[in-house]
Symmetry: C2
Subunit: 215 residues, 2 copies
DNA sequence: GTCTATAATCAGATAGAC
DNA sequence: GTCTATCTGATTATAGAC
């Protein structure tokens, strides 16, 4: 085996271990909070010695930040190129549908994000001030243009956006409560459909729009 | 001083200390999570020796449960006696208004509840299965009656309720994010008004109702 | 009832053999 | 790069003087 091949193999195990630890950390941070997720619990779940977690990520805080970074990248999507000329009903319905799907399939990531905000966003402060604030500003402008054109009913555009976030993320963050109330073990296929339908109906309905029948 | 008076005085200090510790614990549990809030931090914040916290509440878990109990009692309000004959617009608008007010004035309690649910509701499991499920069932029946009478547009009643909870609580739980995006230190009077207005418009508007102008 | 001092345990982090 | 053994400090909880 040449040194080159050896090097590649090592790099591969490195990346694999890196991901395994990140996955374990994501779930534990989401499930038990920053302080509740100990490095040894994370190491156990990942199936590596605790010292290796420190070898890869040095400090706990660094590991936490890496987990958050990965989530931010994944969640930072939707409404990318919306314009005043677009059709609000289509745009918003698709955004809601995708948000609900993400909440159902990746609840842990939503929950970790939620606990970070609830803690006062110590690790996301700058990101929220820069990227998120700018992003929101852009979307709010388009919403306002829709209102001015009479495409949608008059409403506070920023709070409209917050309402979309809250109603969709709720099904990830409060899943435990929802399922206990519904007396179910997990979301069924029809639940996803009725959640999407209800939330979409709620947002679009209040704007004087009707939910598109075809996706 | 008679023994009776002495006894009353002792009982009074006991209740006072009890409340002081509960208040400190509530804030710390909400801010840093169950594991992040250490007994010594709570004792410091309350201004009592750590041993006294144990004297009053024995175990950390017990203190946490007491804090939760107090929150549940306070939040378990609204829609108490609604009936199929009531006017949906008035009922729902008042419910939303009160929920928003509570979210703005008591954000810590909402956040603590949220983290408890996100953790999988270890301490609230039974409460959610019994009280909450029954409560929801009752409200859903009334909502359904409103739909059947043609008072409100057809919508999934349970998800309608979830949407009210999510949109209102969001302003407590995600306050940090919202204020950073809005570039403000705290909610202003006019914010509370526009949040109430927007959320009410959202819920009522999607039901084919209009927001009542007079409270 | 109150509080100091301390026990027992577990956390994050590292040294050093392999 | 990997992992055992260990250090240091913090945590929950309690014993016992006042």
């Amino acid at each position: 085996m040449t040194t080159e091949v050896k090097k590649n193999k090592k790099e591969l195990t490195r990346q694999k271990n890196y991901q395994i630890i990140l996955d374990a950390a994501e779930e534990l941070f989401a499930r038990t909070g920053y302080d509740g997720a100990s490095m040894s619990l994370i190491a156990n779940k990942a199936g590596v010695p605790k010292a290796n977690v420190h070898y890869y990520f040095q400090h706990k805080d660094n590991l936490y930040k890496m987990v958050l970074d990965r989530i931010i990248e994944k969640w930072n999507f939707g409404l990318e190129n919306i314009k005043a000329e677009d059709d609000p009903a289509t745009i918003l319905h698709h955004y809601i549908r995708d948000k609900v799907a993400l909440a159902i399939t990746q609840p842990m990531q939503s929950r970790l994000y939620a606990t970070e905000i609830i803690r006062g966003a110590p690790s996301l402060h700058d990101y929220l001030c820069d990227e998120t604030r700018q992003w929101v500003k852009g979307k709010v402008d388009v919403f306002q243009a829709w209102i001015d054109q009479g495409k949608i009913r008059k409403i506070d555009p920023m709070h409209l956006l917050f309402s979309i976030w809250s109603t969709t993320q709720y099904y990830a963050d409060f899943q435990t409560q929802i399922l206990l109330i519904m007396d179910q073990q997990e979301y069924a296929e029809k639940d996803v459909a009725s959640i999407t339908q209800t939330v979409s109906q709620l947002i679009l309905g209040s704007l004087g729009l009707t939910v598109p029948t075809n996706d």
